[in-house]
């Protein structure tokens, strides 16, 4: 078994005291904490290596360019795809906007875009905008008791043969792992382009995109131990390169005259301007760090923690847990009786417990669950049994204050 305590020591923030209490960080679905390796790489870059990429002939610029481009190789090999199939963006949100804009060039009033009911607003609104521009229709797959209705979804896909299926691998609000393998294979048979939002799955599931065989996959570095403000987009090369450019500017061009401009091939044509160099290098350091840890041991550990948390939570009378508790990356989304999630989270914070409360940028899902929000505790491998004890004790004390 992996030594969790020694991994925890790699994350300096986990030793932090808040108001004299140890931090109990259960908000990794919002953003994961960063190991020293990532923090050090970013610091060293600005201290010793800072330079722009793809521009200079001088040593620093050469080195920065090599680091920046080798980071692309790092993430590509992590996802088991080709290096030229990775585009750097500011994160999953920008990647989805790039895709919705690019793919909508082929939409018309007969087009159908399918999404799941669990989607983050970032995977709803860009498609809604595309539908408004083109007259296409947004189709929402069905759900049963907080879990995707897989058979219903497959039937609906076969019936409507959408142009695009855009859905999350893992629900950010509930932690559900969706059966995307079966949906992708249905989509292949009916000619539907698949866009998978991997923001919540990259760290926990380490997907092999060649095996998944989706057309596009988007991700954010900060949910996977990396820095904020950087992320990426994977696309099967032919399809990626066929997308129209979304942002324009320097660096992405081949030739510019006042009459017309021509663009580089993907991924370059989607990366105008000076990129987030330190972010990309920091992200690669995060992937290097993850690569050092045995994935199956880590997944087993996360599942053990999750089920311990779930069991303890269910023992508290009046708690309602939402979502799929069988296939879950380690998120408990819950409410207590009719208490407001805001009060619960505010009081939990007084005990040093960091959770998220609210609609989790999934207002349509909350409406379907008939709640105005939930409290969400989300785990990562750097959490331990003490965190769970800490959280449950704080929750019991909170409930006592409220009752």
């Amino acid at each position: 078994m992996t030594d969790i305590q020694s991994l925890r020591n790699d994350f300096p923030i986990l030793n932090k005291q808040l108001d004299g209490q140890p931090l109990c960080y259960l908000d990794s679905a919002a953003t994961a904490q960063k190991p020293n390796k990532v923090i050090d790489v970013i610091k060293t870059f600005y201290q010793d290596e800072n330079s722009n990429v793809h521009r200079g002939l001088h040593t620093l610029s050469e080195n920065a360019t090599v680091r920046y481009e080798s980071a692309r190789e790092t993430i590509a090999s992590f996802l088991n795809v080709e290096t030229r199939e990775i585009v750097w963006t500011s994160g999953a949100t920008e990647s989805l906007n790039l895709l919705a804009y690019g793919l909508s060039a082929c939409f018309n009033s007969d087009s159908v875009i399918a999404i799941s009911p669990f989607e983050h607003h970032a995977n709803i609104v860009p498609w809604q905008e595309a539908c408004q521009r083109t007259g296409a229709t947004l189709l929402v797959l069905p759900m049963l008791d907080g879990v995707l209705d897989e058979q219903g979804a497959i039937a609906l896909l076969k019936q409507h043969k959408p142009d695009v299926l855009a859905m999350g691998h893992v629900s950010n609000a509930l932690g559900n792992i969706h059966p995307i393998e079966s949906l992708i294979s249905v989509c292949k048979a009916i000619g539907t382009i698949t866009v998978i939002d991997g923001a919540q799955s990259l760290l926990h599931l380490r997907p092999d995109l060649k095996a998944l065989d989706c057309d596009f996959y988007v991700f954010s570095a900060h949910k996977a131990l990396g820095p904020t403000g950087v992320g990426g987009l994977y696309g099967k090369y032919q399809q990626l390169n066929a997308l129209p450019v979304y942002k324009t500017g320097g660096e992405m061009i081949r030739e510019v005259s006042f009459e017309r401009s021509s663009y580089r091939e993907a991924p370059g044509k989607f990366e105008p301007g000076t990129p987030n160099i330190s972010g990309v290098i920091g992200f690669a350091a995060a992937i290097d760090y993850i690569n050092e840890i045995d994935p199956s041991a880590l997944q087993r550990y996360e599942q053990t923690l999750y089920h311990a948390l779930l069991e303890k939570l269910k023992q508290i009378e009046g708690i309602t847990v939402y979502g799929d508790t069988q296939n879950n990356v380690g998120v408990v989304s819950f409410n207590y009786k009719s208490e407001h999630h805001y009060d619960l989270a505010t009081l939990l914070n007084t005990y040093g417990v960091a959770v998220r409360s609210g609609h989790h940028c999934t207002q349509p899902l909350m409406k379907m669950l008939k709640v105005n929000g939930t409290v969400r505790a989300s785990l990562a491998f750097y959490n331990n049994q003490d965190d769970i004890e800490h959280f449950i004790n704080a929750l019991n004390a909170t409930i006592e204050l409220l009752d």
Binding site: H340, Y342, D343, T346, L347, T350, Y351, G358, A397, L401
Partner: protein, 135 residues
Amino acid sequence: MNIEHITKKLSESHGWQAKYREIMLLGKQLPALPDALKVDSALVSGCDSKVWLYLDLDENAQQLVLIADSDTRIVKGLLAIIIAAYASKTPEQASQFNAYELFESLGLIAHLSPSRGNGIRAIVEQIQAKAELLK
């Protein structure tokens, strides 16, 4: 409920849990708004929780009349403090009143920072703006 009493109660509570307990008790004493008045047009925008606020002028006494409610206990308690602070003030007095100083003195300033998202700032700004119009 008067503001001196609230200030005393809160200053006697040590630790955040005790403060929040006091705040929630203040909220409990605030009369609930009838459902008919919980309409979207009365919602204060910029709040994470729902806050309904009505503000008018008692023409005879030339004093502000405030009623408000929230769907969360803590924000409702904070509303009780705000109402106690502004009630019985003339519009002139209200527009000169510094709610931030009050929350600072109560040790609750964290609730006025924008990042808290609880909209106390939005509520105070709305009251100030309306008081300005009633002057």
